[in-house]
Structure formats: C-alpha cells, structure tokens
C-alpha cells in the first residue's frame, strides 16, 4: 500500500507540473509539446505501464484489506465514538479512495481513450480539447470534487505510508505530518485551480 501509494504521489506531482503548462500564455505550445513527448518517449511508455499496474495493485490491495478488516469485527458496537481517538480522514480511506477511482475511470475514458485509442482528428490539439472540456461547468465540478477527496486521501496517506515503512522518529514526525498535509494541499489546489482558471478566463 505504502510503496504503490507513494509511487502514485510522485506521479501526481509530475502530472501537476505538466498540467500547469496549460496556464502558460503561449496558445498551448508548451502543453502540446509536453503531451506529445509523453506519448512518443519509450521510457515514458514503460512508466505508464508501471503506473497502471501501480493503480491496479493499490486498488486490489485496498479491497483485500477492507474485506479482511470488516471480517475482523463481525459484530458492531451499539455505541461507538471513533472521533474521540482518530481523524475522519484516517478512517475513510476506502471511501475517499473509491471516489478517486471513479474519477480516474472518467478521466481516462475522456483523455487517454480519446487520444491514444481513437486519435485526434486533423486540426484538433490536446490543448484545444482540454480547454474545450473545461468550458463545461459539470466537468469543472467533477474535477474539483475529485481533487478535494484526493486531498483528503493524501492528508492521511502520506504520513501513514512513512509509518508503514517504519519511519517514525519523535524529532521528525511533526515534519513528516506537516509535509504530508502540505503536499496534499498543494496537489489539491494545483489541480483544482487549472479547471477553474480555464472556466473563468477562457469562457
């Protein structure tokens, strides 16, 4: 869980960098070039396969853990106060993760499927397609909701992954927790800013 999760976090940061190129006021040249490199570079294609395997492994493992953990408490408490001892984020990783999964499916069927499988028509560019889709308010809302939940997921996930890997030291724990929360925040703000910016400035 920790290894696949952290791998996905690294991917997200790279993906965020690429997407921020959308904001470069050059009519999409930098973004189109970036996207083109992404589809033609052999190394990137290999990483892409690893990424799919990573997501798959993460989801399959999450499902297995959730099923096992449900089985570990067959009879529920009549009265329970989990909020007294743990955060909402930490207790709802399955929920936030499932919302992300739904989003990933929508996201991939829109972009990945269209560009890689169907291919672009004549004068269409990836930049143009992205801008076009974010003129739709529903699309913007789906993105924002998904990334807020991704932020919730990562808020617990990053520091949790360190603990899983055995990295826990009284001196560094506050730094790990704060960095994890900050990264979650940056990823959420970065990814939600882009559709909002496009919707409000290029409408």
């Amino acid at each position: 869980m920790a290894l696949t999760g952290l791998f996905l976090v690294v991917f997200l940061l790279e993906h965020l960098y690429g997407n921020l190129l959308l904001l470069k006021p050059d009519g999409g040249a930098a973004f189109n070039e970036y996207s083109h490199n992404m589809t033609s570079n052999v190394f990137i294609r290999i990483v892409e396969i690893l990424l799919f395997l990573g997501i798959l492994a993460h989801v399959v493992n999450a499902l297995r853990l959730t099923i096992e953990n449900k089985k570990a408490r067959p009879v529920k408490y009549a009265v329970n106060k989990p909020a007294a001892n743990s955060s909402w984020f930490s207790r709802n990783m399955g929920l936030t993760g499932s919302i992300i999964l739904v989003f990933i499916v929508i996201h991939l069927s829109d972009y990945f499927f269209e560009y890689r499988v169907e291919g672009l028509d004549g004068d269409e560019t990836i930049y143009g397609e992205v801008i076009e889709s974010f003129k739709n308010l529903w699309y913007v809302i789906i993105y924002i909701v998904a990334f807020i939940f991704l932020g919730f997921h990562l808020n617990h996930a990053i520091q949790s992954a360190f603990q899983t890997l055995g990295i826990n030291h009284p001196k560094y724990n506050p730094i790990i927790k704060k960095t994890g929360a900050a990264l979650a925040f940056i990823i959420t703000i970065g990814f939600t800013f882009i559709p909002l910016y496009i919707y409000f400035t290029m409408h």
Partner: protein, 252 residues
C-alpha cells in the same frame, strides 16, 4: 448518582445476545466503575436474577483483565486508565451508560461482557520470549551493558498489560499495538536481538492467523491504550519485519 445502564447480555458463545436496561441508584462518585457494577450485581442477586459477568482481577490497573467498551470507548471516557481505575465522577447523575464487550473476531464473547483473549497468549507463545538456559548458570543481568535509552524504551513497551483495548478500539480490529509492544520489549535488548528476526515473523504470522485486522495507522489504539504504548513501537515492528523479510536466513 442515579444511572441507567444498557448492558450487553449473552448467555454463552452461541447465544445471539442483546442489550438490557438496568437502573442503579445511590452510586458514590468516588467509587470505581467496577464497584458500580458490583452494586448492580448485588441488586440482581437479591432479586434472584443472574448477575452480569465481567472480567477483572487486580483492580489496580496492572493485570489487564478488565475490559469494557463504555459509551463507545475502550475503558470509558478517561485517558490512560483501565476500567477498574475509571471513577464514576467521570459521569453525571442521570446519565445513560452503554456497556459492551470488546468486539473482535479474534476475541469471541464467552458470556455477557467476558471475551476470550487467548489469541494474545498464542501470539506470545509463537515468539514472545527469549530462549535462555536457566539450569543453574544464569548470568547477572547487569553484566550486559545496555544503553539507558534502549532500556527505557524496552521498559515502556513492556508496560503493555495485554488488555486488548487497542484491538477493541481499532476500526480494523488490528492487534498491531499489542504485538509491536511485545516485539519491541525484546528487540531493543541484547538478549532479545538473538532471535529477533524469527520472533517478529512468527508473532506476525500468528497474529494474522488469529483473524485480527490490518493496521491502517489511524492511531486510535495509542489514544485508548491505558499504558500509553506508542505508535513508535508499530513503526519499529514494521522495520523489524521488513528486515526479517529481506535478510532472514530461515528457509521459510
């Protein structure tokens, strides 16, 4: 104090069980939670009814027998105490108090509020020991120098009383805090290092076989543990386990 109690009653392992309502009155705020239950049981016996079965032994917070899930929290609303050390002044006159047994597949209910925690014993038997020859040639423990810091941490881990509150409170029913405390108390000391790899493997294997859930680092156990066992121990066990998986020379 006058209180309404909603207590889990279950005849035996196979009975379905249900919550039943009882009233107790004139409870001293200075009495302990178990003393309050003693008053209830006396009342029930005088009425010719079956008293409520609950676990207890030392009643001073060291044996780990008492084990109640009180108003949605393991060992009740107070921190750093077991149920036997929980005072009634933590409640208000007229309160309704829900009392349930630990809920875990690995801790089946035997009767009412009593659960079978022998799963912990089997985990200990799988590796929670050091093999020393005690046939007349034991060495003075002080002959082996141990850094003060390590000794302190080992001692802190060894204060775990095996009460099971960590399992009861964990949303996953995971026993990681208990097992990690027991792994740590040995792994930190020279005498325990000898069998460290095998120990962590065997104890974790037994833990999984008993049907405990998987740790997802919510941290609830550390908050509810009456002995303040730290999550650092779980990280240490994870390190020990990783190390054992990578460098172990055992065949399996």
């Amino acid at each position: 104090m006058n209180l309404t109690l909603k207590i889990w009653r279950q005849k035996n392992k196979n009975d379905k069980g249900r919550l039943e309502t009882y009233q107790v009155s004139n409870i001293s705020p200075d009495s302990s939670f178990l003393e309050m239950l003693d008053v209830l049981n006396e009342q029930l016996i005088n009425e010719g009814k079956e008293p409520v079965a609950f676990d207890h032994d030392c009643r001073e917070g060291i044996c780990g027998m008492c084990s109640l899930y009180i108003n949605g929290e393991a060992h009740g609303p107070d921190r750093g105490v077991t149920t036997c050390q929980l005072h009634m002044r933590k409640f208000k006159d007229g309160d309704t108090i829900y009392i349930e047994p630990w809920r875990s597949a690995a801790f089946p209910v035997i009767k009412d509020l009593v659960v079978d925690r022998s799963a912990f014993d089997r985990i200990m038997a799988a590796g929670g020991f050091v093999s020393v020859n005690t046939s007349g040639n034991t060495q003075d423990a002080n002959n082996i120098p141990i850094p003060k810091d390590d000794a302190d941490k080992a001692f802190d881990a060894a204060t775990c009383i095996g009460c099971g509150a960590c399992v009861a409170t964990c949303k996953n029913g995971s026993a990681m805090l208990f097992v990690s405390a027991k792994v740590s108390q040995f792994a930190l000391l020279p005498q325990g290092k000898v069998e460290a790899t095998r120990r962590v493997h065997n104890m974790v294997k037994q833990m999984d076989e008993e049907g405990f859930g998987n740790c997802s680092n919510t941290g609830a156990c550390e908050v509810e543990c009456p002995k303040g066992i730290s999550l650092e121990n779980i990280a240490r066990m994870n390190r020990e386990y990783l190390k054992a998986s990578i460098i172990s020379e055992d065949e399996e």
